[in-house]
Symmetry: C3
Amino acid sequence: MILLFTDFGAGGPYLGQIKAVLSAAAPTVPVIDLMADAPAHDPMSAAYLLAAYASEFPHGAVFLAVVDPGVGGERRAAVAEIDGRWFTGPDNGLFEPLLRRARHARAWEIVWRPERLSASFHGRDLLAPIAARLAHGEHPWDEPMWQERPWAAALPLELLRRPEWPDELARIVYFDHFGNATIGMRACTLAETSVLEVAGRRITRARTFGDVPPGTAFWYENANGLAEIAVNQGRADQVLGVAIGSPVAVE
Amino acid sequence: MILLFTDFGAGGPYLGQIKAVLSAAAPTVPVIDLMADAPAHDPMSAAYLLAAYASEFPHGAVFLAVVDPGVGGERRAAVAEIDGRWFTGPDNGLFEPLLRRARHARAWEIVWRPERLSASFHGRDLLAPIAARLAHGEHPWDEPMWQERPWAAALPLELLRRPEWPDELARIVYFDHFGNATIGMRACTLAETSVLEVAGRRITRARTFGDVPPGTAFWYENANGLAEIAVNQGRADQVLGVAIGSPVAVE
Amino acid sequence: MILLFTDFGAGGPYLGQIKAVLSAAAPTVPVIDLMADAPAHDPMSAAYLLAAYASEFPHGAVFLAVVDPGVGGERRAAVAEIDGRWFTGPDNGLFEPLLRRARHARAWEIVWRPERLSASFHGRDLLAPIAARLAHGEHPWDEPMWQERPWAAALPLELLRRPEWPDELARIVYFDHFGNATIGMRACTLAETSVLEVAGRRITRARTFGDVPPGTAFWYENANGLAEIAVNQGRADQVLGVAIGSPVAVE
C-alpha cells in the first residue's frame, strides 16, 4: 500500500501525475490519497500530522510524503524505515516526530537520478519511482537489478532530525473541511482539565459535539489522537479567527 | 463496488483513512468517491441527493454514507438493504427518501463494536469494516466466521424513517463546482411550465445552457433527474446569492 | 490506463459517476484523475494544459477530456488517435494544440447513442462507455460485437482544428493549489532572458524558488514544460491579482 501525503491539493495535476508513475511501475499496489491538503510549504506543521496518521497503517506500508518548499535546492531526498513502515520525502524535518517516537529507524539518501529530473517536481520524478520499488519489496540495501549502482546510500539519522523541535507542537496545524482546528499536540499529553488558550479565548475539553451547546467552542481528542478545537454546529476557523501556525497555550 | 458518500471534503485525511481500512479488508473491491462534499452536517439535504444518485448503481453496490453531525452521541449505526443495494450509515434520516421510494427494504442495527472506536470517526472505525464485509457478500443475518455473536440485529424500518419529511425537498441542497444550484426535487414532479421562485427571482425552464442568453438563470432537469438552477456562462450561486438550505417555491 | 481531464471539481458527484461507469465496463483498467480543476468552461485554456500533460503518458493511454460548455448543443463527440494515444471529448478545440504538434493523427465522430443520454452529462453517458472500450483495445474501425452498427464514423481532422489559435497561448491558464500561475506557453519557446509582463509587472526568469528572495515573483519552466509564475514563499495569484485568461506579454 502506498499512501500519498502532500500539500498538492486534490484537484490539480500533481497527484494524477504521481499516480500515473506509480500505476505504471507498481500496477498491483493500491495507492491511497491519505492527505492532499497538508499545510502548504510548512513541513513542521505537516510533520506532526503525519506522525499522528502513520501509526495506524500496517508494517510495510510506504508513505510518499511531499511538503517540500526547498525542492530544487540543496536538500536531500531520503528514505526512512521507521518501526517497519517506509517513508520517502525531503530531509526537511517531515519525519522528525516519527523518528523521535520510534523504537527502530534507519535512513538512506536517494542517490539515483532519473533521466528526466524537473527542478520543481521531485515527487513525480524521483520519489514516486522509489516508492514503487519499496512497495514491491525492494530494499535500499539490495543490489538493484535495474542499474549497476545502488540507488540509495546510508544516511546518518541525525541528518533527518530536528532536535530543536518540541515533542508536541502547540500550534494550529490544520483546518479540516468542517473548519475544525487540529493542534499538533497529542491529547494524551494533556489533562482532562487542561484549558487551551487560542486567540484570547479559553477553551475547555468535551468528549464530542453533542456535549456542548450549539455555537460553543471546545477541544477534544480527535480520531487520530490529536487535540482539536471544534464548535458545535459551527466552524472553529470562523469563530476563532485563527490561521495555520497560530499559537496555542496550555493552562 | 463500494461508494463513498460523505461530507468529509476531498483533500483531507478522512477519506484516505477510510480507504486504507477498505483496502486492507476488501483489497479486490473497487472503492469510488461518489461525493465528498455532500452538504456538511445536513443529513436532510444530503438524503435527497443520495436518493437521486443511488438508483443508477447495480444491485449489490454498497454505499458508505456519512453525513453525521450526531456522531459520538446516541444515534444508531445502521445497515439497510433497499431494492437490492446496501447502505450503511447513521439513523438520522439519510436513507428516508430512498426508503420512501423503495419497493423492498430491510434494516439492521450494527451491534458489533471494534476494539478501537473513536468518538468522532465512526465512518472509519465502525462503518468501513462493515461495508467491506457487505461488499464481500456477507449478510447481516449470516453467522459470522470472525466472532461469536452476529454483528447486526434486526432494526424496525420505522427507526430509520422520517415521515414528516416531504416527498420532494423544495430547497437548494447542493452547489456544484460550476456554481449550479441543485434542488431536492425530482424534475419529473414538476411541469414543463413550472416557474421556480428563489430569493425573489422567477426562474423558468430550459433544456440546456445553450437555450438561454448568456447571464440568464434557468432551471433544467440535471443528469440525475433533479431540478437544478444554472446561469448560461455564469455562476448561479453568485447570481442568485443563495445558500444551501435556501427555500424554493414552485408556481 | 484511463486519464480523466475535466473541469468537474474534485469533490462533487460527477467524477464518481464517471468512475462507476468505467469500473463496471472496464474493471481491470486503472483510472486516474489527471486533473479535476481544468479551467471551467474554457476549452482553449484547458487545451494548452492537456497538451503539456499528455506527452508523458505511454502509448495506448486513453484520455477522457471534458471541458464542454456546449454540452447538449450541436457540438460533436469525438475520438482522436494522436501519436499513439487516444482522446475522447467534445469537438470544441480541446485537442487543437495536441493535433498541431502531432506527427500522426486520425479522428472519428461517436455516432453511437446510449439508451439514456442526459442533456448535460455526456462525460458519463457517452464518453465514459467509449473510453472503456478504447482502454480494452477496441478500435473505432472494428466491427463492434455489441451492436450491429459501428459506433464511430470517420471525422475529417479539420473539424477538430482551430487554425486561428496561436502555437503558444500567452495567457494565464491555471492556478495551482499554491497559487502559482501557469501560462499556456512552452518555456522552450522563450529565451532565458525573456521578461514576462503581467498586470503591469515585469517578471524575469529563475530556475526555482530558492533562487529569488522571499516575496519575489519570477517565472520558471514548470515540471510539464510550461512557463509558470510563482512567488517565493508567497502566492502569485494574490501578489499579481490576475485571473485565468489574463494576458501575458513577452519582451
